[in-house]
């Protein structure tokens, strides 16, 4: 890692101070994990343009309900996905589009779900916060903050009892970290040495409540010590760093050593959801955060390492934009769900 990037790393996320005991971010660029950096770049662009489209479509009144976008957090989703092995599982949060797309979700079906169409991942029943595709290892987002934390531990318990190699990554935010069930589950997972990675995506804000106003002690990962769980904190806007730290955490969990807590410090450049005027923070804070956004940083790295030139990056961007436009088209012309089936399928 270059010295320049190390500096950026320590200033990432004004709401998430660097951990004084150092970073788990000795990010090597050569990895044997399932996504190379160019693929990661493409996935990050897909997420960014998808989320920008979601905000635009809300503004235009073409989609309704609610959605929480993850602009600025793409490196966390993709860095984690890039470190997973086949068979691993992930649970997500209310801000889950990015996690799902990072695992390879089809943007068409995801967009169709937001459009409330029969072709959506949940046939229009779930909306933004309730989608799942277990064939991709994606065990669902969740509209209840912290609600999927014990669920993830249950997936891990099932894997452990069956002797599977699976590790489960449980995404949660700085907000969910304050839910009692988060602590209950950490204790339980440590007690039973579950193959689980608690992946805290600290984006600085629980809706409008900054971590300074929500956390009594500023260093999230210190909580892990209370349960004897090893932990690390990483600059969540540094894709290779996230990938590397996640790989380490997965390795730990896969070797029957029990769970690990990994904090990825990032910044939610989006508002909480539609209608958030972001009056709780200064525009200056946001403009500073934009300077640290993860896609440009990855692109600088790709150029620096001669993995891509400016023309390639432009081509990537255009292709990603096109994929999202195609997804909107797909969703727009997809059939609506049959209202006569609305009460069907409550029970198996």
């Amino acid at each position: 890692m270059t010295a320049g990037r190390a500096v950026i790393q320590h200033t990432a996320g004004p709401a998430a101070p660097p951990d004084p005991r150092g970073d788990a971010t000795a990010s090597p660029l050569t990895t044997k994990h399932r996504m190379d950096l160019l693929t990661c770049h493409t996935r990050m662009l897909t997420i960014r343009f998808f989320e920008e489209a979601v905000e635009r479509l809300f503004h235009e009144g073409r989609i309704g309900g609610t959605a929480h976008t993850c602009i600025g957090q793409e490196a966390v989703a993709v860095g984690v996905a890039a470190a997973l092995q086949s068979g691993d599982a992930v649970t997500s949060t209310h801000r889950g589009h990015g996690h799902f797309l990072a695992l390879g979700a089809d943007p068409c079906r995801l967009m169709a779900e937001l459009f409330g169409r029969a072709t959506g991942y949940s046939r229009g029943r779930g909306g933004s916060q309730m989608m799942m595709d277990t064939s991709l290892g994606f065990y669902g987002a969740n509209g209840i903050t912290g609600g999927s934390i014990p669920f993830a531990a249950g997936l891990a318990l099932d894997a452990q009892m069956r002797g599977m190699q699976r590790v489960v990554v449980c995404f949660f935010g700085d907000g969910a970290a304050n839910q009692g069930v988060c602590h209950e589950t950490m204790n339980l997972a440590a007690l039973w040495k579950l193959p689980l990675v608690f992946l805290c995506e600290n984006n600085g804000y629980a809706m409008s409540t900054s971590v300074q106003r929500g956390l009594a002690h500023p260093h999230m990962i210190d909580r892990a010590a209370a349960y004897g769980i090893p932990s690390a904190s990483v600059d969540g806007n540094d894709l290779p760093a996230v990938q590397h730290a996640t790989a380490n955490a997965l390795q730990h969990a896969r070797s029957n050593k029990g769970p690990m807590l990994l904090e990825c410090r990032t910044y939610r450049l989006s508002g909480h959801s539609r209608g958030d005027k972001r009056e709780y923070r200064h525009m200056h804070e946001e403009s500073e955060a934009w300077k640290r956004e993860p896609i440009q940083r990855l692109e600088a790295l790709l150029v620096e390492q001669k993995l891509a030139d400016a023309a390639t990056l432009t081509t990537h961007r255009a292709a990603a934009q096109q994929r999202i436009e195609a997804a909107i088209q797909f969703a727009d012309v997809s059939p609506l769900p049959d209202v006569n089936t609305v009460a069907e399928g409550v029970f198996a």
Binding site: M132, P150, A153, G154, L155, D158, V181, L188
Partner: protein, 325 residues
Amino acid sequence: MRTATYTQLLRETLEAALRRDPRIFLMGEDIGVYGGAFGVTRGLLKEFGAIRVRDTPISEQALVGVAIGAAAAGSRPVVEIMFMDFVTLAVDQLVNMAAKLHYIYGLRCPLVVRMPHGGGRGYGATHSQSLERLFTGVPGLQIVAPATALDASALLQTALQGSNPVLFLEHKLLYPMRWEVPEELPAPQSFGQARIVREGAQVTIVAWSGMVPQAERAAEALAPEGVQAEVIDLRTLAPLDTDTVVTSVRKTGRVLIVEEGPRTGGFAAEIACRIFDAAYDSLDAPIRRLACPDCPIPAAKKLEAACLPNAATIADAARELAGKA
């Protein structure tokens, strides 16, 4: 034939299930060495080990959530909540996760949550409640409330073979009761089929779980007075067998619904409404509910007894309803 308690048949059913299906495991607070607060799992740790008879810390929300996750992945967990009152701590997981997995994602959730409920033991306001009303309005949860040892076994077997989340209510006063039962466990019993405990032509008494034996005793006491009561044990609240209740009410024209919980907002009100919708023209008297007063259940024996419906108060209400008071 032999005699067995409710507790005994529950234990034998769990034991047989653990032998039959390697996906089934038990988890809960103090269910291992201690054998569960009411002894239902006593001895199972020794046979099946700590992996499948799994003690948990006191963390109801996490342990129910963990069970739901394991169920979604293909395991078949059976959770014991030590007292039904404590399930309030896990309501989020049951209501927002378990109940919605199939409707939204098409994901099966074969989960059984066993819960001792009910008063009569002087345990006080937070260890005596019957909180089924919190869940009867939640689509996606099946609610079972067996009143006999055989039904407890038969319905538990169905729950253990199913693909849906089941809340399994066990009344504390039923645990030590003894019934004459066959040597073999009974066959599984489908949900949604009420049982006519006793036939009668003058008044229908609807009850479930711990109120069923009280209703039976009331009916026995009324018979010599010339009041023939038909007693219906609902067995499951979700699904609810409305037909059996309505058919009985069409015959008797009078119905008393007994519920061990506060009157206001109770499940008896739902049953009453269904009866009225389907059979208002057969009613010879207003539908009558007997429930606890709208107050917490106090600890002192005398005060608690003043709250809970019992055979005597059921008999009084049924007698009055039948016009023989």
